[in-house]
């Protein structure tokens, strides 16, 4: 004992003694006293519960790491799909041409032969950012087409100067005839077979070219098809430039040393040499020469050549991060092509399709990331709450020991230290196991450290949940708080406590409302790199809404339960009375919060998926315009073919001009012109959400000749049957009408200026088909003003439309992509990596929170099992049957679960309604506008059904747990023995 209080027994009376403080060493010993021993022994005793906590931490860590990783992988996959969809057209290329020099002629921008031949060196100049996504850099040199002479038919080996003028030309012609007589093709092409392509060909006969033979002949190999043209190893031939007479150049001798075929003719490396492997190549067989041979050929012929340095992209190597780098690099290349051409004169870089395509993809990424981050954060949040629930089990189990430690002089910090040390070990083990499991189950993607923004909350909750709850128990055990004697004062304190609670609850609700309003106002913003590109505010907002819903549920809960309890008390038997009392006492904030958040996450995910699917259906109608759209110059024939097909209810034929120039007198305006026939109104009427009848009537009137305006302002005189030479009566959409100040307009259509007269306006604007603004005209009248123009679009409606259109297209030999069905569009949309990935994450998140809800409910059941066991035993002494124990569990759990389902469903619906706009769902839907939020009663019903099943399982478990209770022992000990 380090200090004696003043005024101890026998001394002068004092009002207060002082706590002894001791030195620093003593204070440290007090806090760390026997920590190792206590932690070790206690952990051994609670091994099962600690193992369960560790497993839960591992699960939470797995979700925290795997979630963002799946998000990243999905975005990477979508990037890969984007690049793959571009095909070879997206490969960055540098092109060089060498042309025959023209003395004193203008600079044609062509490369000189030396630059041309140096193109292979440019392969090393590919920027680093591109190199990371490059499968190969292939150089193709097309040296042109030459007349074939039998060997000796010309002045070989560059002795060209002597073969000049007409004499040479004539000689070439004669030699060609000689070559034909020798069974050789009269023409042959020469191309480079780059050294690094040797592995991409298989040698059928002979060998690969080495360059130039000792006798000066250029070695070449020929494709298999060329062997049919009489070229085989050993064949020697002389090549003469077709315009050798003008250039004054001579011939090159070529010796065929081998026959080859491509290992894979469709491989990307042959994109610029695909023609060489085609069967048609036999007519002009390509002679593939080595680099030295090409140099020789060019030196002696000096004719036009065409070289391509193709950077073959590897779509699989693309990731989101690399795509960003590539876009930046390509933008630099666009402004400074020398980055790709090394400044070589005459080498140009054509506009690259890759950059804009990737940029468009990157624009969609924040929305997709936001959509995926919300369920991921929800799952992690629910997992963290379950962690708190399970740690509560641990702390409750140790409440007695903690109280005893306090009684023996343990300070709160020392209690926290011991629980914290244990939690540290549990979290370290759990996180390590979770990260390892994530590496196994969700390989790829960024390193686990990149998921710190989801992993950190899990670790923090795991570290703090037990110590903080333990500290609360330790403080409450020896509170020393004095209650005032004055009843009014006690009431005042109680009121103040209630006010503080109300203020906190109002604060939570206002915070959630503010977050929702703020997100709704500001919309989706770019990601923050610190959170892996996610929007942290958007991610947290749904959890805040769920928290607010829980707060409201806690307030509202007593009313319906009280009403139900009143009914229960009037029922016969003990069940109603006991159930009523248990239900009223059962409300625990933490389980309610956990179940509410879980239900909210599940409801949000399911409703978003439902909204997207409904939106995709609507978007498919917008984008296709009918069940089926056929785009072909044979539109009229297609229409005739499908019109009487079974299951076809409406057919419309149209001429579309999406970028027609509308002359408004003072200025011109790009507009979309749809010249439609009478069937168009019927096609519109068959849409699930058809335009108003007045609008359809206005369009129908165009074709019927009664083109009277539907709106007053811009109406002109009824035109009756329009004059074929006069202006075409048109109906314009309201957006365009607002910009018009005259009725007589003109439009430039297929090179013809066609006068128009506005006879009406319409709200119908098929923006899914064309950008607009829209001008509608009658097809027949429009065609009468144009020469040799045929309709190009057919819309077909009806259940048999797809089959009828497919048959017609097959019959007419139309390409496959000419027919576009609404169902195919929607299916294609749903199969997109981004769309499918988001939907998959939402559904998986729903399943995982369901599992976590089961765990939470289980933890809640276990937490109350002891007390329920005692109550059940007591009731059994009063005559209640043991097997009715499930009723107690049901009476306690059902109201909580019901409250959670209601609050969670409302919260989920609110999240979808309030934040849906900020989630950028139009990216997934692919429609014109952001889809309207669709709240499905089936989903809410499904959630309720799922909860009922969970509840029944929980009650069953409860019964199983108490099946072995021994009545006398439970009553004696005061707790269940299980």
């Amino acid at each position: 004992m380090s200090a004696r209080p003043v005024g101890a027994a026998g001394g002068a009376p004092t009002t207060r003694a002082r706590a002894s403080r001791g030195g620093r060493g003593v204070r440290l010993r007090r806090v760390t006293a026997r920590a190792g021993l206590l932690v070790r022994r206690r952990a051994r005793r609670d091994l099962g519960l600690l193992a369960a906590t560790t497993a839960l931490v591992a699960l939470a860590a797995l979700l925290a790491v795997a979630g963002p990783r799946i998000v990243a992988t999905t975005l990477d996959d979508a990037t890969v799909q984007t690049v793959r969809g571009l095909g070879g057209g997206a490969d960055p290329v540098a092109i060089a041409e060498v042309r025959a020099p023209v003395e004193d002629g203008p600079d044609t921008g062509a490369a000189d032969p030396a630059t041309f031949l140096a193109l292979p060196r440019l392969a090393d100049e590919v920027p680093e950012e591109l190199r990371a996504v490059t499968a190969d850099v292939v150089v193709s040199l097309d040296l042109g087409t030459f007349a074939v002479l039998p060997e000796g038919g010309g002045d070989a080996d560059g002795d060209a100067d002597e073969a000049a003028g007409e004499a040479a030309d004539e000689a070439a012609g004669e030699a060609a005839e000689d070559a034909a007589a020798a069974g050789l093709p009269d023409r042959a092409a020469v191309a480079l077979l780059a050294e690094d392509l040797a592995d991409d060909v298989e040698v059928v006969a002979g060998r690969l070219p080495a360059g130039v033979a000792a006798d000066g002949a250029v070695e070449a190999v020929v494709p298999e098809a060329a062997a049919d043209a009489g070229l085989e190893p050993g064949t020697r031939l002389a090549l003469a430039a077709r315009r050798a007479g003008e250039t004054g150049r001579g011939t090159a001798t070529v010796v065929v040393v081998g026959v080859v075929r491509p290992a894979d003719a469709g491989a990307p490396v042959w994109r610029d040499l695909a023609a060489a492997w085609a069967p048609e190549a036999a007519a002009t067989p390509p002679l593939l020469v080595a680099e030295a041979g090409a140099e020789r050929v060019l030196a002696v012929t000096e004719v036009a050549g065409f070289g391509v340095v193709r950077t073959i992209l590897d779509p699989e190597a693309f990731t989101l991060a690399r795509a960003r780098a590539v876009v930046a690099a390509l933008e630099e290349v666009r402004t400074d092509p020398r980055l790709l051409t090394a400044g070589a004169a005459g080498v140009r870089v054509p506009p690259l399709g890759l950059g804009p395509a990737l940029a468009a993809h990157l624009e969609a990424v924040p929305a997709a990331r936001a959509q995926m981050s919300v369920p991921v954060a929800g799952v992690v949040g629910v997992a963290a709450l379950v962690l708190v629930l399970v740690s509560r089990l641990l702390v409750r189990r140790r409440a007695g020991a903690i109280g005893l430690e306090r009684a023996r002089g343990a300070s709160v910090p020392s209690v926290v230290l011991r629980l914290g040390a244990e939690a540290l070990v549990v979290v370290a083990l759990g996180v390590a196991a979770g990260v390892l499991a994530a590496d196994r189950l969700a390989p790829g993607g960024p390193a686990w450290t990149a998921s710190w923004w989801t992993l950190a909350p899990v670790a923090v909750v795991g570290l703090l949940a037990t110590p903080l709850q333990g500290a609360a128990i330790a403080r409450a055990a020896w509170t020393g708080r004095r209650e005032p004697a004055n009843r009014r004062e006690r009431a005042r304190i109680a009121r103040r406590r209630d006010l503080r609670r109300v203020a906190a609850e109002v604060g939570v609700v206002l915070l959630a409302a503010g977050a929702g309003w703020s997100l709704r106002s500001r919309g989706l913003v770019g990601g923050v790199e610190a959170t892996g590109g996610g929007d942290p505010f958007l991610v947290v907002a749904p959890l805040l809404v769920a928290l607010a819903a829980t707060v409201v549920a806690l307030r509202v809960y007593p009313w319906p339960v009280r009403a139900a309890a009143a009914v229960g008390r009037r029922s016969r038997g003990v069940l109603g009375v006991v159930g009523a009392v248990r239900a009223q006492r059962a409300l625990a904030p933490l389980p309610l919060l956990e179940l509410t958040v879980a239900t909210s996450v599940a409801a949000t995910g399911l409703l978003l998926v439902h909204t997207v699917r409904v939106g995709q259906e609507a978007a498919a109608w917008e984008r296709v315009g009918a069940e089926v759209r056929v785009e072909s110059p044979e539109a009229a024939a297609v229409a005739d073919a499908v019109r009487d097909a079974p299951g076809v209810t409406a057919v419309a034929v149209a001429l579309t001009a999406n970028a027609a120039t509308l002359d408004l007198g003072a200025y011109t305006l790009p507009a979309s012109l749809l010249a439609v026939d009478a069937g168009y109104a019927d096609v519109l009427a068959a849409l699930p959400d058809p335009p108003p009848a007045a609008d359809r009537a206005a369009l129908a009137d165009l074709s019927s000749g009664a083109a009277a305006g539907t709106d007053g302002e811009l109406d002109s005189e009824p035109a009756g049957r329009p004059d074929p030479a006069g202006p075409i009566p048109v109906v314009v959409d309201t957006a365009l009408a607002a910009r018009l100040d005259r009725d007589d307009l003109s439009v430039t259509l297929r090179g013809t200026i066609v006068p128009l007269v506005v006879v009406g306006t319409t709200d119908h604007a098929p923006r899914g088909l064309a950008p607009g603004p829209f001008v509608f005209a009658d097809l027949g009248t429009t065609l009468a003003h144009l020469d040799d123009v045929a309709p190009d679009t057919v819309w077909v409606q009806g259940p048999g439309a797809e089959a009828a259109a497919a048959d017609a297209a097959a019959e007419l030999g139309l390409p496959a992509d000419a027919v576009r069905s609404r169902a195919a569009w929607a299916a294609e949309r749903r199969a997109m990596a981004l769309v499918a990935g988001v939907e998959r994450i939402m559904l998986v998140a729903t399943g995982v929170v369901g599992l976590l809800a089961v765990l939470a409910l289980g933890a809640t059941v276990v937490a109350g099992a002891g007390e329920r066991g005692r109550t059940l035993s007591l009731l059994r002494t009063l005559g209640m049957r043991a097997r009715l124990g499930w009723w107690l569990a049901l009476a306690e759990l059902a109201p909580v679960v019901l409250a959670a389902v209601v609050a969670g469903s409302v919260s989920g619906a609110l999240v979808v309604l309030a934040l849906g706009g900020a989630l950028g769902l139009d990216v997934l839907v692919g429609g014109v506008d952001v889809p309207a939020m669709a709240v499905s009663p089936e989903i809410l019903g499904g959630l309720c059904a799922g909860s009922v099943i969970l509840l029944l399982v929980a009650a069953f478990v409860e019964v199983a747990v108490h099946r072995r209770d021994r009545l006398s022992e439970v009553l004696r000990v005061g707790e269940t023995t299980t």
Partner: protein
């Protein structure tokens, strides 16, 4: 009951003459008009209704009373677990109404020790007896060697030395309670509180535990306060204080007398307690036997006060009304 007396504490006969001194200034434990009111929702329970109690250093006192009489509330207050609503409570100079959190911690570490009824509540099940005894000293910041020596001494003193390395589950109930006494004594507390320490034990084992408590009192000089239902406890302690309805109602004081033949005998005298306001509780059976109710007639005699039922015939001696005497 042999007499009605009004001692503020036994053996403090001169206390009434030193009125200028503070009430209980020489006592180790002082409860002065102690009130404890619980309020659960709208229900108010007055567990202590102005309880007075003095315990002097070195005493071994038992507090008895029916269930709900307030004895456990009193013990909770004295042990620092609860705080009284009003009145004054002081233990070894510590004002229990004004202690901070740090004071309470120091109070538990340095001033008091506890033994509870449930044996499982006294000891951590995963520590051995020795480790359990060491624990409070470790929490107090004592050095390892010192605390090990002290723990071994305590266990030896209480006859638990040979079983020092057993865990509670390997000990009988009485042994567990004796280890609990050792734990409570670990930090040399001035007061040892025991709440029904023999409640779960048979009488033979209970005697062993009481022997341990007596050892703490006599050998270590700790003041011992035991709360119990046990009717036979008065044979084990010097003083038994009975609590009824939140007030001390009576006391039984045991003292050893030696007669003229040299033979010693234990004499137990029961006292009614007169509180500081002059209130006196008459035992229920007294009231029943004499039909005392509502109001009684008092008569002051030279050496005692007579109490008569209202309406009873006056005695042979001329009586005077108490209030009249008091007025004069």
């Amino acid at each position: 009951m042999t007499a009605t007396a009004l001692p503020t504490h036994p053996g403090a006969e001169g206390a009434a003459t030193s009125a200028h001194r503070e009430y209980g200034s020489d006592a180790l434990i002082v409860c002065d008009n102690l009130v404890r009111i619980y309020q659960v929702e709208q229900i108010e329970v007055q567990a202590l209704q102005g309880l007075d109690l003095l315990v002097h250093p070195g005493e071994m006192v038992a507090i008895v009373g029916a269930s709900g009489s307030g004895k456990s509330t009193l013990l909770n207050i004295l042990s620092g677990l609860d705080v009284p609503t009003a009145g004054r409570a002081r233990v070894a100079g510590w004002d229990l109404l004004r202690m901070t959190t740090a004071d309470r911690l120091a109070y538990r570490r340095e001033v008091v020790g506890f033994v509870w009824q449930q044996t499982a509540r006294n000891l951590l099940p995963y520590l051995t007896a020795l480790e359990n005894v060491v624990l409070p000293m470790a929490f107090a910041g004592m050095r390892a060697r010192t605390r090990r020596r002290r723990a071994a001494e305590l266990l030896d003193m209480l006859g638990m030395g040979p079983k020092a390395h057993r865990r509670p589950a390997e000990l009988s109930g009485g042994e567990q309670q004796r280890v609990a006494v050792a734990v409570a004594l670990a930090n040399r507390p001035q007061v040892l509180f025991a709440d029904e320490p023999t409640g779960e034990l048979d009488s033979a084992t209970g005697d062993e535990v009481f022997a341990a408590l007596r050892a703490a009192n006599t050998q270590l000089g700790a003041t011992v306060v035991v709360v119990t239902h046990d009717e036979g406890v008065h044979t084990q302690v010097q003083r038994t204080v009975a609590i009824r309805d939140g007030r001390t109602s009576s006391e039984v004081v045991r003292r050893t007398e030696i007669d003229e033949f040299g033979a010693s005998s234990v004499v137990a005298e029961e006292y009614a307690v007169l509180d500081r306001a002059g209130r006196l509780q008459l035992p229920k059976d007294y009231r029943a036997a004499l039909g005392l109710r509502d109001r009684v007639r008092l008569e002051l005699e030279p050496d005692h006060v007579g109490v008569w039922p209202d309406g009873a015939p006056r005695g042979g001696r001329p009586g005077r009304r108490h209030d009249e005497r008091s007025e004069r």
